[in-house]
């Protein structure tokens, strides 16, 4: 009897049920899309923030005081260590290898060109690596310098006689694309062709950037590099990470394990030091620190926007369900008049609305997945991964909201006197 009544109620006022179904579908769609995007936005934005460049710098131990103020140091004759090129693929074998997105080695040297000295930097542009894990990756400068305007084009892996020339230098020396330039290095003389002119807004504007092998030959330092820039996906620092960054030895064993197995910039740097001989890896604070703060803000923002949207959706569904139940006062009055108990009426009502709401919710969930993909694809050009947690949350939300929508009407129903309603008061 109960099921027959529910069925009849569902079939009879079809357009009204349809409206509840549509509204809960809309609510579920908003919830699914927003929750899906919210849970994913951290990873996505983190990935996009890589556009600011590398966040870890690896240098030889002992060459500590070299870095940017290079000229000064050469005069001072401070010890100039080096890293082994052969060690570089090991960076992709650390515990967090998967989070290492890209890296590029640098070897700085000077050469004479047409009688004037120029800075020459050797690097990988898009270097193919075969890893011990039988993976193949391409790493290099092309992705680490997304803000460079390269007129002409980047140099492909294996083109050894090409060079990129900084825009300032090209202007000064009157160099154009395709020109041949002869470089007289410390140990060798070589001729390279200008494959691209770089407008970078930084030091590179006055440098010649060549494949690593060329710089090694010019400087007579085969198999050596000066520094490596690494771009890694990291988790924003917390107190533990800051404590570890000061001194990893100060951690307790369990703290150390947590730290080592979390993708903090400091633990990734530590792991790079472990695999590379005589290397010091340090976070580039300008990028690493700022990433964390931007990420935190974006996530908080998305959380708030999600809560706002969910609240709006929830209120909209509740509202409609209430409207629907209130308008059925006469029908319910009739039910009570023919002897239905309050409990029976409430059961009938809740069952009916739940069936309608959850059906709508299921449809909305599928639509919401679609919206989440739409957002992911058009904003981040990457899919938003569907999560079981989102499905669970949406189901819970729709159920709660639909029931909450019934509540005011249930209260009203309990006060309802059959005779009064049926008489029209």
């Amino acid at each position: 009897m109960f099921f027959r009544m529910v069925k009849a109620a569902l079939l009879r006022g079809r357009s009204k049920r349809l409206m509840i179904a549509v509204t809960s579908a809309l609510g579920a769609a908003v919830a699914t899309a927003m929750l899906g995007v919210m849970f994913d936005v951290g990873d996505k934005i983190n990935q996009e923030l890589k556009t600011y460049g590398a966040n870890i710098l690896v240098q030889p131990r002992g060459a500590a005081v070299v870095t940017e103020f290079y000229d000064l140091q050469e005069e001072a004759g401070v010890f100039h260590g080096s890293l082994a090129e052969a060690d570089l693929p090991k960076i992709k074998t650390i515990f967090w290898a998967f989070n290492i997105l890209d890296f590029a080695p640098f070897l700085r040297t000077t050469a004479t060109m047409d009688g004037g000295a120029v800075d020459v930097v050797g690097t990988w542009f898009s270097h193919h690596l075969d890893l011990p894990t039988e993976e193949h990756v391409a790493v290099g400068l092309a992705n680490l310098r997304s803000w460079w305007d390269v007129e002409g084009g980047w140099i492909a892996d294996g083109d050894e006689d090409l060079a990129l020339v900084g825009a300032g230098l090209a202007r000064e020396r009157g160099l154009r694309l395709g020109d041949a330039i002869s470089l007289r290095g410390l140990q060798a003389d070589l001729t390279v062709r200008v494959a691209g002119i770089v407008n970078s807004g930084e030091d590179a504007d006055n440098q010649i950037i060549v494949p690593l092998a060329i710089a090694q030959r010019l400087s007579g330092r085969p198999g050596q590099v000066d520094s490596v820039e690494v771009s890694a996906l990291t988790t924003p620092d917390n107190d533990l990470a800051r404590k570890a960054a000061r001194n990893p030895a100060s951690l307790t064993i369990s703290e150390w394990e947590t730290w080592y197995c979390t993708a903090y910039v400091s633990s990734i740097a530590y792991q790079i030091e472990e695999v590379m001989d005589s290397a010091v890896a340090k976070p580039i604070r300008q990028v690493a620190e700022s990433e964390g703060s931007i990420l935190a803000k974006t996530q908080l923002l998305m959380l708030m926007v999600t809560v706002l949207s969910l609240a709006a959706a929830a209120l909209a569904i509740t509202n409609l369900v209430t409207a629907n139940v209130i308008e059925r006062a006469p029908q319910i009055g009739l039910l009570k008049a023919v002897g239905a108990s309050d409990a029976a009426v409430i059961r009938l009502l809740v069952a009916e609305i739940s069936v309608v709401g959850l059906t709508g919710g299921a449809v909305g969930y599928v639509a919401g997945l679609g919206f989440a993909q739409l957002i992911g694809r058009s904003v981040f050009a990457a899919a938003v991964s569907p999560r079981p947690l989102v499905a669970l949350l949406v189901a819970l939300l729709v159920a709660l909201v639909v029931l909450a929508g019934c509540l005011p009407s249930i209260r009203m129903l309990l006060r309802l006197r059959a005779a009064e309603v049926l008489h029209g008061r």
């Binding site: 549509v22 700022s290 409609l320």
Partner: protein, 413 residues
């Protein structure tokens, strides 16, 4: 019991949607046919009376419809305010990455005169200027080894380069300085240690109040106040470069740099391409993310609002039929119901616009610790949009109800 049921059902259904009083008002409205001259005035007064009566009498239903519209308008104005203003706020947050505009000496000159800062500040504008840190570099010696020392405004540096990490303390008085982490490791300095700087013939003892680490060039730098460096190297009133942190991104920075180059003599301004390009990219991303979310959520909410409005109106079929049976024309019925919808839409829209602003302000406060910017036309859009949606959503059920022969509708009941 059986008779009671049939009877009760009929009167209950008819009366459920409106009570006797509304029959009276509708009836009096239809009976008195005013003369043409007074007609408009009277029917207008009548319409108002009916509208007021309809709104005040069925309170529950009005509250529900009003809530629906207000929720929609709240979502609209809050999301739109966020989508419009947050990327602007985020541009400020992006300055966690440091200065995005550099002032260098004009080619051929060695230094930037300190006197140019006021002029450049003016070009940047108060609202967008987040920080300005001038730098002066000198080579100094510690234990006869040369190091690079930078004199700067330390308070300004903390704003311009928030990513600087200092172990120990930031210098708080004269005679204190920061030592780069690499130098500190090299010569074995800990925070609080004394250090003697030499420059030419002058020597001075300082306290290294903190060790600075950034992972960049600053790690091999000694950073001190401009006055301290002035005492050591002599005042010059000149800077080697000035870093500006400006709350604009992308091409706007280049435009600003061009303006500075055109108006201020002796300097050469340039955007930090790495930051300006990356900022523009990330902000563009955020803008399209928020925009798309706003559009999708709004479309869905507005459909939700219209289903509720439709439900509320559709349920009054019997009332519409009864009015028609008593002689009301389709047009007058439509006018009354749509008028009601318009009033609800406008009221709900205004309510929602206010609530939406509150929500946006709350979010902005929590995330950015700043007020949300006020977009003057947004409340207007919220009111107009929700009125339009309420009106459009009522149109279909009212038309449909009005077209049906009242006898059929009333017999159904």
């Amino acid at each position: 019991m059986g008779a009671d049921k049939v009877d009760g059902k009929a009167s209950g259904r008819a009366g459920g949607s409106f009570n006797n009083k509304s029959i009276e008002t509708a009836a009096t409205g239809a009976q008195r046919r005013p003369r043409p001259a007074a007609r408009t005035l009277k029917s207008q007064a009548m319409a108002w009376r009916m509208l007021r009566a309809s709104l005040t009498r069925r309170r529950a239903r009005v509250v529900i419809a009003l809530l629906a519209v207000a929720i929609g308008a709240t979502a609209l104005s809050a999301l739109a305010a966020i989508a419009i203003d947050i990327p602007r706020q985020m541009a400020r947050e992006m300055r966690a990455y440091g200065a995005n505009l550099l002032i260098l000496p004009e080619p051929g000159r060695q230094t930037v005169p300190a006197s140019t800062t006021a002029q450049i500040d003016g070009l940047v504008g108060d609202g967008d200027l987040l920080g300005r840190a001038p730098y002066r570099y000198q080579t100094v010696r510690i234990n006869s080894q040369p190091y690079l020392a930078a004199g700067t405004d330390l308070a300004a540096v903390r704003q311009v380069s928030p990513y600087w990490q200092v172990e120990g303390e930031w210098p708080s008085r004269d005679g204190q300085l920061l030592v780069g982490a690499d130098i500190a490791a090299w010569i074995g300095l800990a925070p609080g240690d004394g250090v003697e700087l030499e420059m030419g013939d002058s020597k001075q003892r300082f306290t290294a109040s903190g060790v600075l680490s950034t992972g960049g060039g600053e790690d091999s730098l000694i950073v001190m106040g401009l006055e301290d460096l002035g005492q050591l190297a002599g005042e010059s009133g000149q800077y080697d470069l000035i870093e500006y942190s400006v709350a604009v991104s992308g091409g706007d920075v280049e435009a600003l740099a061009d303006r500075v180059n055109a108006t201020v003599s002796g300097v050469s301004a340039a955007g930090v391409k790495r930051l300006t390009e990356s900022d523009a990219y990330v902000l563009g991303l955020l803008k399209s993310l928020l925009g798309l979310i706003a559009v999708i959520v709004l479309a869905l909410t507005m459909i939700g609002v219209s289903t509720t409005m439709m439900a509320v109106v559709a349920e009054r079929r019997a009332e519409i039929a009864l009015r028609k049976a008593l002689g009301a024309s389709n047009r007058s019925v439509e006018r009354e119901f749509l008028g009601e919808a318009l009033a609800l839409g406008a009221l709900g829209g205004a309510l929602g616009a206010a609530l939406g602003h509150l929500c946006a302000e709350l979010i902005s406060r929590n995330v950015f610790h700043r007020h949300i910017g006020v977009t003057w036309w947004l409340p207007l859009v919220a009111v107009v949009a929700s009125t339009a949606v309420a009106w459009a959503a009522s149109l279909i059920p009212v038309r449909r109800a009005a077209e049906v022969d009242p006898a059929i509708v009333l017999r159904e009941e």
